[in-house]
């Protein structure tokens, strides 16, 4: 398993010590999971939803429970660590 590659997919920076520890822990958890291969699942349909719900449809109309206004803006944008006026500020995407 390539820990560096997975960490990069997961967008988590790991220290070398964390990488080492993670390698051991993941290997032990994954070898426990190998157990699943003892069971033949050919022809078994996977189960994603337990209570039998298939689709949950509704009319495409606005509820109005969350009205966009000064207060909601403050609550939501106010949480952003970096902001300017009513906008969330983001670092440059590419290296300058």
């Amino acid at each position: 398993m390539n820990i560096k590659h997975i960490a990069s997919l997961a967008r988590i920076k790991l220290t070398e010590r964390e990488e080492e520890r993670m390698k051991n822990e993941l290997t032990s958890v994954l070898s426990y999971i190998e157990k699943l291969n003892e069971i033949n699942t050919n022809g078994v349909e996977p189960l994603y939803q337990t209570t039998g719900l298939v689709n949950s449809m509704r009319e495409d109309e606005a509820f109005g429970d969350f009205r966009h206004g000064e207060n909601l803006n403050k609550k939501l944008i106010g949480q952003a660590p970096e902001k300017q006026d009513n906008f969330v500020k983001v670092k440059s995407v590419l290296n300058k």
């Binding site: 820990i3 157990k35 699943l36 003892e38 660590p81 983001v90």
Partner: protein, 475 residues
Amino acid sequence: MVKTMFSYTIQDIQEGLQNKEFSAEEIFDHYAVKIGLENKKLNAYLLAFDQRLTVNDLRPETSPLSGVPAAIKDNILIDGTICTAGSKILENYISAYDATVITRLKKAGVSFLGKTNMDEFAMGSSTENSAYGATKNPHDLERVPGGSSGGSAAAVAADLCVFALGSDTGGSIRQPASFCGIVGLKPTYGRVSRHGLIAMTSSLDQIGPLTKNVYDAALVLNVISSKDKFDSTATNMDVPDFTKNLNREIRGMKIGVPKEYFGGGIEGEVREKIDSMISKLNNLGCKILDISLPHSEYALAAYYIINPSEVSSNLARFDGIRYGHSSKNAKILLDVYRESRAEGFGPEPKRRIMIGTYALSSGYYDAYYLKAQKIRALVKKDFDDAFSKVDVIIGPTTPSTAFKLGEKSSDPLSMYLSDIYTVPINLAGLPGISIPCGNGSESGLPVGFQIIGKLFDEETILRVAYQLEQLLTNN
């Protein structure tokens, strides 16, 4: 007058309010003072409120939860208050709205005492994974209260609230209830809305009550059960009055005892208590039937694919940009993600995000996630087969009583194994309840008895639980 040395149930509060022994303010203040004095040694609460935060003062005759002081697990949003989910990444996060369960409790007149400690993002079975320090078990301060709803369970057991809400993904209500000697109910998947619950494993998460007795669990379930336009998995089914049939006798009921729940891992003193409960059911006129749930031993392995996979997806939203912790060291956008997540997440979320990312990465999906969902279908089929012959299934909630702080925290796998009897129920979406059935003969610590029901049949498991509780308290 509020009685100082008394552990109040919901019914006690109702009576106290009706008889004008105290007002809703007085009982709230009583608990707020008690939390101030006793929380330091338990660390059950992360945050205590100095006002009730409720909207309604209803007559206790019309709303049984009116004026009842409650504790809320810190992954459920209460508008305008901090919600950390036990993580540093949300240390300063302020909820922008009420979870649906909170809206419903507010309408019912519940008072909110504070937010309770939990394993980070509900990942864990001991509360030791909280970024804010472990909660202690009120029965023995050197032991864990269980988890992930350990703060809620400890608060109920130590009478630092009348009832609490928790969430249960693989046992996170029932296991701490068992360790702390209280009642914990995990409703059917879809019975209670998760809108405003910080998502961990969306195909399994469910909110439920932790209470001092079975009747209280039914009262709370009455209020929090509902359909919800904000949670499309919440069912449209009618909500019965869960207290109505508690008193009906259970003579003739068919009780399934799965042989897989009494295997090698179970401690002798737990086995002893569970056996004595089975003979009590026998005395109540139930038919005890041996059953088999052959895929039980594979459920936990399947869970540890499904859970990390959904975790890696759900926790992708913590990006250091819109809310939550943001690294001061990052110069470019990619590093904002990588550094903020490195600094904000503790070891267990990192571990699970890594496992999940691996399991879902290109080329591995079939071998892991798909395989696990097929095993899940087999686990569910085991239960379907069993429920064609029995009304409820019973067994231990956990293989052991509460373990020592630090005992399992260095070995993730041994920690995972403490949920071996609770995880299959979540995989199948079923309701389950843990009730206290006395203390172990060796440890002297509480043992939990688990009752598992058919989909949406909380009524029957509550009824069996109530009948057993009556028998235990009257003896």
